[in-house]
Every structure is written in C-alpha cells, then in structure tokens.
C-alpha cells in the first residue's frame, strides 16, 4: 500500500501537484489538489474493525461505495447539506421494494468496477454485508438499526442482482444502507488475504482500501496524514474535481488556524466553536447545526431528588439557556428553548417550552419535596469543550434555587463508562446525535430504557410502546405524526434530559469550495472544488 520513494519520484507528480509547492502563485489555474487539517487521528482504513475511531469513518465515505446515498439540498444560509429525505443510487442503479415491504431487490450498475479494475458483482455486495453483520461491535449494531442482522437475509441470485429480505418492514432499512457502515468491498481481493483465523480479512483492510469509491488511499502515515488519490473509473456519482486530497492531522487549533490563514492548507475541519467564531470574521466558515443531535442537561431517575417532577421542571426553568449558548457554543448551532407550548409538528430537535424564569423555578422548588434544596454532583467530561463553561453557568443558576452542585470532571476514557454504560451520574451533560434523521430513532437511543444514550435511566411505558410502534412506521402514515407528538409531549413534560441547544459542525475554508455537510460529520472529499464558491 505504501508507495516506495522511488515510485513517487518516478511518477514525478508529487512535487508538481502538491499544494505546498510554492512555485504556484495563489491565483494560478484552479487547483486539483487540496490539503485539509483536522485534530482527529485516523486509526484504521477499515470501519468494521474493533477499535476503529470515529475519524476513520471518513475512509469508508470517500474510498468505498454503498448501494445508496443521500441527495443534497441547499440550506437557508446557502451552504450545502445532504438530504435525508432523498435516497439516491450509488452502486445500485435501481431498487424495488416488494408491496409487503419485506424484500428489496437492487440492480447494480453494470459498468461499476473496483479500483483494481475487476467488476463489482452482487457476490461482493453479499460478502460485504455478511461481513458487516458478522464482525460484531459498532458495524453490527448499526446494521441492526436497519433490520439487518444475519447473512441469510442477503442473497445474490445473479451477478447484477442483490436481494435483501427483512424480518419486518421498516422506514429505517433503506436509509441505513446509505450510512458509512454497509460499504462494498472487493471480495475476491479480500478473500485472497483472508486466513482461517481472519476470515473477514480484517488485517488487510485495516491497511488497504479495496473498494469502488471515488478515492483510494495511496499513503497513510498513522498519526500524520492520509493521502486520497482520485479513482478515475468511479461511476457512483459525478467525478470529483480534486485529483488529490491530503488530510493532515494537526492537533493544536492555533496551528490549524495559522496554516489556514496563510493559505498553506485549504480546509480546517471540525473546529471548536470558539475558533470558528473568530475565524468567521476573516474567512468562510460553515457552521451547520448537526441534524438529530442535541446537547442536553440530564437528570438521572435513579437519584431521589430527580425523581420529583417539580424538581426537574424547576431545573428546566432555571437553566440560563442563552448564556450557555453564547459562552459554551459561541452562538454556533441552534437555540432549543423558548418554544411554543403546543406541539403542532414533528420537527426534531425542537424548541422546548422552557426558558429562563427564576421566579417560576423557585415556585416549583417550593412545591417539590425539596423546598430547602439539596446537594448533588454535576458531571462533565474533560475532553468535551462545551461542558465546562456550561457546567459553571448551570452551577450558578442552580445555586439560585437551592440546588448546590459540585462539579465533577471525568477523564475522557471513563466518561462513556460512567455516563452511558453504568449510567451512574446523577446530573450531567450528554450530546447524542442520531445518524438516521427521524425523531423515533433519537427516542430509541436516548429515551428507551436500557439503551446506551439514555443516561438518565428513564423509563416510561408509553414511550417504550410508542417508540417501538413508530420506529418502523412510514413517516407519512396517518398514525405517525400523532404518536410522535405524544412522545414529544411526554418527554418534554417529564424531562429526563433538558435540551439546551443543537450543536454545529464547524468547517473553515480558504481556497476550497463545494463543502457539503453530512450526518456522519466526516469530510466528504468527493464534492470539494479548488476555488471558493
């Protein structure tokens, strides 16, 4: 996979096309290579591997195809975003859902080839799907969200036809095929590197990209950079404008900003809110509110004072929303407070009816079983930047209504265990975001009992039933909207988690265009262009 020194020198392209070559003045012809920097490290080229981190999902996005993808839309601020409501073909040319919704038949693009030139067949799709549901861990869990759990659900009747059989019809099935997980692997090549101990060629795919996607990784120096090179035979979409995209790892945001402002790099991806708001004065900064993601203040039902509905409401009326939004998020994202009490639509995340009203909060505390207040611990993760300023503001506000909080900082390694797995934090923050953009999917992870992001140990029988009912239901089903509205009503009244604001993904560019926001929050290199537009 690694090019030898000689190979690169021989091709002689490296120095000619690299954006760092200062021989090209800034105003030269549109560039065909870009450098992006990000603080995150890519630790594997294989999303399915145990231990692959979030940043590495970018490889699956750029170097592999899925059967389906999402269309795009222009947001109110003029920036581009994927469109969850528009499913489009990627490797599949067309697809057909049986009337009972249980069988989906895909026709593959006849001219699609892998990067080694061999044709993409339905056997490759089957092998890739089998792999995703068999390797365990994240890949398998995400596949289950779409109703895919066993290899016998997938079949390949002929080379160009791929059939999926579902146990139950669900609106989440097709969108779940457009998330990064079910990517299509060159199974012949993979199998030639598989061993008895490693039937899914995890070792080989960890170091190599063998897909049919728009880019291939030609160089990967762990902890330093990934170099994408365009695959000119890509048929999954319009050929990318960029021939080469380099993703450089730069941990310090101060350094990232210096590089971007000097024009030595063109994109700084996933910047902290503070840097984004400062850079926005000089450069183009996209701050897209992350769909289906909410930064919340959570109250754990396993702890007595928080079992009292009046206490939870008092907290919700005491939170200084605006101050948190300005201090912790620098106003990037969307406010989620001060909405109408009546729920008339199924938009989610949505504004809650709560806002900052200390008089009301005190009144509710007086009616609660804790008129004198109580003591509790407010837990935050040390490596999630927004939590600390938010915690200080919450601590001050709670003191006003008699709730005395001690702030407890939990190191990164332990945060998930303490908050999500053991669910042992009485009062804490949480920031779940669902890939599949439907309210029921959010409820499934964050409000149903026992599920990972329900860090409040919340259980409500009606929510359990309604979530199960709506999860598979089509969104245009006449029953859907009333049930969803009822779910909103319940959780906004019972308040296991108080929505604070919808966070944003910040991307700054200097000399690059075509940036598109995706739900997976990875840099999609396929749409990028060399000049700002």
């Amino acid at each position: 996979m690694r090019l030898s020194r000689r190979d690169i020198l021989k091709t002689g392209m490296m120095s000619a096309a690299l954006p760092f070559a200062r021989v090209l003045p800034a105003s030269a012809a549109p560039r065909d290579a870009l450098v992006a920097v990000s603080a995150q490290t890519i630790n594997s080229l294989d999303l399915h591997r145990t231990g692959t981190n979030r940043a590495s999902y970018a490889i699956a996005v750029n170097c592999y195809d899925r059967l389906l993808t999402f269309g795009s839309k222009t947001l109110a601020d003029g920036s581009l975003s994927y469109d969850f409501t528009k499913l489009e073909p990627e490797l599949a040319e067309s697809w057909e859902v049986s009337p009972d919704g249980l069988t989906v038949t895909f026709r593959l693009r006849p001219n699609a080839t892998f990067q080694d030139g061999s044709p993409v067949t339905s056997a490759d799709v089957k092998w890739s799907f089998d792999r995703a549901v068999s390797v365990g861990g994240f890949a398998t869990t995400q596949m289950k969200a779409g109703g895919f759990s066993r290899p016998d659900q997938f079949s390949a009747p002929d080379d160009m036809t791929f059939v999926v059989t579902l146990d139950r019809a669900s609106k989440l099935s097709l969108p779940d095929l457009a998330v990064p997980v079910p990517f299509i692997i060159n199974s012949t090549l993979a199998k030639s590197h598989a061993t008895e101990a490693d039937p899914w060629a995890m070792e080989y795919l960890h170091q190599n990209t063998i897909g049919s996607g728009a880019f291939k990784v030609t160089r990967w120096d762990q902890g330093q950079q990934v170099v994408y090179e365009r695959f000119d035979g890509w048929v999954g979409g319009p050929l990318p404008a960029m021939r080469r995209v380099v993703l450089r790892e730069v941990p310090a945001t101060a350094t990232q900003r210096a590089l971007l402002e000097r024009g030595d790099v063109q994109i700084a991806f996933d910047l902290p809110d503070k840097d984004a708001s400062e850079l926005a004065e000089k450069l183009t900064v996209y701050s897209t509110p992350v769909e289906n993601c909410i930064n919340c203040l959570c109250m754990n039902f396993s702890f007595e004072p928080f079992q009292d509905a009046n206490v939870r409401k008092a907290v919700a009326w005491a939170v200084p929303y605006e101050a948190i939004f300005q201090t912790a998020a620098y106003g990037r994202g969307l406010p989620l407070w001060g909405g109408e009490a009546e729920i008339t639509d199924t938009a989610w995340p949505r504004k809650t009816p709560y806002s900052t009203d200390l008089a009301k909060a005190r009144e509710l505390m007086a009616q609660s079983n804790y008129p004198e207040g109580f003591e509790t611990t407010l837990s935050i993760a040390t490596d999630l930047l927004w939590m600390e300023p938010a915690a200080i503001l919450v601590q001050e506000a709670m003191a006003q209504i008699g709730i005395r909080c001690t702030i407890d900082k939990i190191p990164g390694a332990n945060w998930r265990t303490a908050s999500l797995v053991d669910k042992r934090l009485p009062f804490h923050f949480e920031n779940f975001g669902g890939w599949l953009n439907t309210p029921d999917y959010y409820f499934f992870w964050a409000y149903q009992d026992g599920h990972l992001f329900n860090s409040s140990n919340y259980r409500n029988e009606e929510i359990e039933t309604l979530t199960n009912e709506t999860l598979d239901m089509a969104m245009d089903d006449p029953d859907y909207a009333p049930k969803i509205k009822r779910m909103f009503e319940i959780v906004l009244d019972e308040l296991p988690r108080i929505p604070l604001y919808q966070p944003a993904l910040n991307v700054a560019v200097n000399g690059a265009g075509g940036y598109e926001f995706w739900f997976h929050r990875m840099l999609d290199a396929r749409s990028l262009t060399g000049g700002e537009a």
């Binding site: 690169i8 145990t50 692959t52 120096d221 762990q222 000097r262 490596d383 990164g412």
Partner: protein
C-alpha cells in the same frame, strides 16, 4: 593496564545491566497493574459509537479482557518473552512497530533541543560564573527566568506566530517533513541521520528546517537548569583549593578555566543533563501537539485516553529501558570525565 581497564569496564557494564533486570520486571508488573487500575473500560471505548450491552461484551472477549487478571498477566509475560509488546487496539498495529515509528521522532527532537540548549547554556553559564554580577550574568539570569517561566506550548505558538505566520520564513508547522519531500529510507528513524546516510542533502535540509522551531521551543525550556547548574558548578570549582594552587603555580588562564575548573564542574552538569533529558522526553507532548510532531508523547497520551492497555504498557516499558540505558551512559560518562569514579564506584 589499558586492556585490564577495558575488561573491567565491560564487567561493570554487565553488572549494571544485571542490576537493571529487577527494575525492569518491577516496571512490567506496575505498568500492568496501573493500566488495569485506570478508570475507563477499553471494551466500552472500542465497541464504537452505537453500542449495546451485547456488543460491549463481544468486544471485551475479542480484546481478551474477559480473562482474569493473573491470566492476562501470564499472556502478557508470554508475549514479552517473545519480544512482542502486544497489539495496540487503537492503531491496529503491533506496539513495537508504533514505538519504532514514533520514538525516533521524539528522540531526534529531544537530542536536537538538548544540543542546542547546551551550546547556549554551557558557555553562558561559564561566562556568568567567571564574571558574576556582570552584564553577561544578568543576561543569563533573564534568559533562564524567561525559559522556565514560559510554558512550552506558549513559546511554540509564539514562535509559529512570529516566524511562520507573520514573517513567513519558517516552514509550515506540519510535523517532521514538508510533504514536498519523501521520508528517507528508514535506517535509524532519525531523518537527519537517514537523509545524510544516502547523501540526500535536500531532504536533510528540509528535515532540519522543520526541526528548528520545535527544537528552539524545547531548548528555551531546558536552558534554565543547564545554565544555572553550569554557573553554580563553575563557581564552586573556581573557588576550590586546586584552582588557587593552579593559579599560584602560574598556569594560563584558559588552562585553569577549561582544563581544571570546567572539567570538574562538568560532573553535576552531566547529571543535570540526564535529568533534563528524561523530563523533556515526557514534557514533549505539548510541543508535539503544537507542531503536529508524530512523537511518542502524543502517542502515549492518546493511548491513555482510550485505555489502550498494550500501548500504554509498551510505552512505559520502552521508557524504562531507555532510562536504564541513559543512566548507564551517564555513569560511564562520569568515569571518563573524572577518573576517580573509576569502576569501583559501582
């Protein structure tokens, strides 16, 4: 006589290495226990974004963490016996390979910083000691105070701001090589050495340019202890009886200063150097972050954050071995500088 001295020295080195065995074993046990005692559950960490109880358990089994502690320890010892430091879950590579990639980057930076630091600090300390209270002494004091009081990440960002952002004379702070250049074929892992070995002076120059800012940052930070120690040791050496005797005997000023005083003052300076080396290698993390340097410090911190046991243990063990070697080298340096230390002084 000389041959006898050499064999005695080899014997001394051998016994020192033997003495290190229990230390290293202790480090193995402690690093194993400490990583397990850390808060944070690797199975949760590595089960991925969306996880269920089952997927977390599956991950635990896959990582071999469902076994009892003694069992895990035996497995670990078995691996070590084969020279295998285990597999890092977060990088998906053998820890030995990760260390082999990362350690030279840190060592190269640290060595360059220390050489730079010594080149400035030792003459400065000597001059300050020979003329206490003079302007040179004051300059030394100011530089030293600035060096210790400025945190490395601050100095680093400041240097980038001035030399890269404003003046545009420093190369982009993007790690060890601008990507116009290809890494030299790996022999030692030190780019300066490897590039020199194949005579590729262009790459050598590029690697050196990348090194200047981070090495200066670290050098500024390490100036203080070295300069202060040189000054103090020189002062006490210069006031010693043998210097008075040497001066009374009419020896030349340079001879007195460098032949007698400096040589005697060197011992504490070497000791300080050893200490500075060890804390700089650890304190590198911030400099590595600012300059996107792919070193060992950031590797260890990332491994700790995600509870990557094998990587943390490998790092601690590598450091322990490094320090055993370092102490050995320092002790040998003692006996070269001061024959009285000889070999009996073990």
């Amino acid at each position: 006589m000389a041959a006898g001295g050499t064999s005695r020295r080899i014997g001394a080195v051998g016994s020192r290495i033997l003495q290190a065995v229990p230390v290293v074993f202790g480090v193995i046990v402690i690093s194993f226990l400490l990583t397990r005692a850390l808060p944070g559950d690797p199975a949760v960490q590595f089960a991925g974004q969306m996880a269920t109880k089952e997927s977390i358990e599956e991950t635990r089994v896959k990582l071999g963490l469902d076994k009892s502690l003694p069992e895990q320890f035996l497995v670990y010892l078995g691996q070590l016996a084969r020279g295998d430091l285990g597999q890092s879950v977060s990088t998906g590579q053998p820890v030995t390979r990760d260390l082999a990639n990362r350690l030279p980057a840190s060592l190269e930076l640290t060595f360059c910083a220390l050489i730079l630091s010594c080149l400035i600090a030792i003459p400065l300390g000597v001059m300050a000691a020979t003329r206490p209270g003079s302007a040179v002494d004051q300059v030394c004091r100011i530089l030293v105070t600035a060096g210790v009081s400025l945190p490395t990440f601050f100095t680093g960002v400041l240097l980038i701001y001035v030399f890269y952002y404003i003046l545009g004379i420093a190369p982009s702070p993007l790690g060890r090589l601008d990507f116009l250049y290809i890494e030299p074929p790996k022999v030692t892992g030190f780019f300066l050495v490897d590039a020199a070995l194949i005579g590729d002076w262009e790459t050598w120059g590029a690697a050196l340019r990348q090194l200047i800012l981070p090495a200066s940052t670290l050098a500024l930070f390490t100036l203080a202890p070295i300069a202060r120690m040189t000054r103090a040791a020189m002062l006490s050496a210069l006031s010693a009886d043998y210097i008075r005797t040497a001066r009374a005997a009419g020896l030349g000023r340079a001879r007195v200063l460098y032949g007698y005083a400096f040589r005697n003052a060197l011992l504490p300076v070497v000791t300080t150097l050893g200490m500075v080396f060890s804390f700089v290698l650890g304190a590198n993390v911030l400099v590595e972050k600012v300059f996107a340097w792919p070193g060992i410090g950031s590797y260890a911190v990332e491994a700790l954050v995600v509870s990557d046991y094998a990587a943390v243990q490998g790092f601690v063990l590598a450091m322990a071995l490094l320090f055993v070697c370092l102490n050995l080298v320092i002790d040998l340096a003692y006996s070269v500088i001061d024959p009285r230390f000889g070999t009996e002084a073990q």
